[in-house]
Amino acid sequence: MADLNTIIHNIKLKNPVLTASGTFGYGIEFDDFFDVNLLGGFIVKGTTIHPRQGNPYPRMAETYSGMLNAVGLQNGGAHYFASDIYPKLIKYETNVLVNVSGSTVEEYIACAEIINELDRIAGIELNISCPNVKEGGMAFGTSCSSVAAVVSAVRKIYKKTMIVKLSPNVTDIAEIARAAEGAGADSLSLINTLLGMAINAETRKPVLSTITGGLSGPAVKPIALRMVWQVAQAVKIPIVGLGGIMNATDAIEFFLAGASAIQVGTANFIDPLATVKIIDGIDQYLNRHKISSINDLIGCLHM
C-alpha cells in the first residue's frame, strides 16, 4: 500500500480522490453502493443562498463520450442545507465540502457565511463557472476583474479552505488562475463544464430547454488536462484537477500535469463505484512503479 495522503491547503486527504459537485448528490445517495468514507472527500451539490427550482426539462443531452447538462443549480438553498442536509452529513468521517454559487457577489457572501457556521464542513468550493444560470455563474469566471472581485469578497468572510472552481470557457486560463490566487484563493479546481449545445435534427429544436448547456465527461479530458498543466505553471497554490476522469489512468495523468487531488464527476453516473476503483488503481499504479507516495507523482511530468 503506497502513501496516498495529500493536502489541499488546510484539508488533509487520506487519498486524492474527491467527487465533483452536482454529480454526487449529498453523498447519501451513494451509501447503498459503497462506504463513502473511503473517499478523500466529497463536494456536495451547488448551493445558493435562495432555493432554486433549476431549469425546465429537458436538462440533459448525451453526446459522443460526454453529456450536456442544464440543471441550473436546483437546490433547496443554504438555510435548507444547514437545517435539513447538514445533520445527515455529520455521520461521515471524511471531508465534506460545499460548492457555493450565486448571482451577485452579495449572494456568494451570504451563502458562504452560512456555510462558515457549519463546523464539519471542511471548506467551500466557490463556483464561479456554472454555465447554466442566466445571471452570475460563469460570467464571474470569465474575466480577471470579476474573478478577483468575487473571490476577495468571499475571502473576507470565509475563514476555512476556499477552493475556487474555474471555468474553461476562457481564452487564457492561466491569467484567470493568477487573478483567483491573487484575490486569496487557497486552491483552484478546474475544469467546470464547457459551454456546448445539442440539436435534435428530427424535431429541429435544441435538445435542452436552455438551448446551451455544460459539456462534461471524457470528451473534455484533453482540454481539462491541458488547462491543469497550464495553471500548474502559473500559480503556487494546490490544484484540484477534474474533467472527464473515468479511471485511475486518467487520474494519474492529472497528477502528472500538476493536480494535488482530483474529482470524479460524470463517471459516477456510468459507474457508481468509479471512485473506489480509481483509489485502488492509483495505489496499484504507485506500487507497480515503486513510487512510495502520491506526492512524488504530482507535477512530475518528464519533459
Partner: protein, 259 residues
C-alpha cells in the same frame, strides 16, 4: 432490495417481433424483494456512440432462478446494441431503482393499461396483484396484432382486453377507445398505466373524470438513474421531482398535466 451495481449474465435473448426483444439476466447475488414498477439502468459498452446507461423496467423476476427479464424495444443505438447482446456475455446493471406502483392493502378490482413498450413493468405488476388476490384486468393496445406481445403471459394473471389501431386484433382504436372506458370504469378502484405520454394523458383524463385512483409510470432521459444528477425532473405540484427516485411511478394528481 438495496440498489447495487451487478454484472449480470445474459442467459436468454428472445426476439418477440420485429423490434422487441426479451433478455433474461442472471444475478450473481441472491435477489430480494423488487417492487413492480422499479427499473434497472444498463450499461452499453459495445457501442462507440452510446455513453450513458439506458433505463429499462424490470419485466419479470424469478427469485428461484435468480433472474430478471427486460423487454427491449429497439429505437436507437443503445437499444439496438443491447438487444443484440449474445448469450453468456455480461451486462453491468444498476438495480432496483425508483419507486414502484402503490399496491392495494386488501383485495381490489384493478385495471392495468399498457401500450407500446410501456407494457414492460405491467407483467410483474399483474403477477404480484394476482398473487395478492386482486381482480386483475389488463388492457393492452398496439398498432397492430404483432405489437401485442406475450398476451399468454398476461393471461396467467388476469382478464385480458385488447385494442389495435388497425383492428387486426381486439377492439379497433386506441386503448382509450376500448368499451371498458365508456361503460365500466367506475368498477375499478385503481388504474395503473404505462405507455407513450399522450396515451397516459388520455387514460389519466378518463380516470380523473370518474375520480378513479390512477398511477402512471413516466419515462424521461436520465443520466444517473439514482437521484444525483437532477437531469430527469418532471413538473409536479411540489415543484421539480426526479423521475428516477421520486418516480418513475407518479399519481396523476401529483403531476402538472393539463388533463
Amino acid at each position: 432490495m438495496r440498489k447495487s451495481v451487478q454484472n449480470m449474465k445474459v442467459v436468454a435473448n428472445l426476439r418477440l417481433n420485429d423490434d422487441h426483444y426479451l433478455l433474461q439476466l442472471n444475478a450473481p447475488d441472491q435477489l430480494e424483494n423488487i417492487y413492480p414498477g422499479q427499473f434497472a439502468n444498463i450499461q452499453v459498452d459495445q457501442s462507440q456512440s452510446v455513453f450513458l446507461r439506458r433505463p429499462f423496467s424490470i419485466h419479470t423476476i424469478d427469485y428461484q432462478k435468480n433472474t430478471i427479464s427486460i423487454l427491449i424495444k429497439e429505437i436507437g443505438e443503445g437499444t439496438r446494441t443491447l438487444s443484440h447482446t449474445p448469450i453468456d456475455s455480461y451486462l453491468s446493471v444498476i438495480f432496483p431503482l425508483g419507486n414502484g406502483f402503490t399496491l392495494p392493502a386488501s383485495k381490489e378490482n384493478v385495471l392495468l393499461v399498457g401500450g407500446g413498450c410501456g407494457v414492460a413493468p405491467l407483467l410483474h405488476l399483474a403477477q404480484v396483484l394476482n398473487r395478492d388476490l386482486n381482480d386483475v384486468n389488463i388492457l393492452l393496445g398496439g398498432r397492430s396484432e404483432i405489437d401485442l406481445v406475450e398476451l399468454d403471459q398476461y393471461a396467467k394473471y388476469g382478464k385480458i382486453y385488447t385494442t389495435t389501431e388497425d383492428g387486426s386484433y381486439g377492439e379497433k382504436g386506441f386503448v382509450t377507445d376500448h368499451s371498458i372506458f365508456s361503460i365500466e370504469l367506475d368498477q375499478f378502484t385503481r388504474i395503473y398505466c404505462c405507455g407513450p405520454e399522450p396515451m397516459m394523458k388520455a387514460v389519466a383524463t378518463k380516470a380523473k373524470t370518474k375520480s378513479v385512483f390512477c398511477e402512471v409510470s413516466l419515462e424521461n432521459t436520465m443520466a444517473c438513474g439514482f437521484g444525483v444528477c437532477l437531469c430527469c425532473v418532471t413538473e409536479t405540484i411540489q415543484g421539480h421531482k426526479c423521475v428516477c427516485t421520486d418516480g418513475p411511478v407518479f399519481n396523476i394528481n401529483q403531476l402538472k398535466w393539463q388533463i
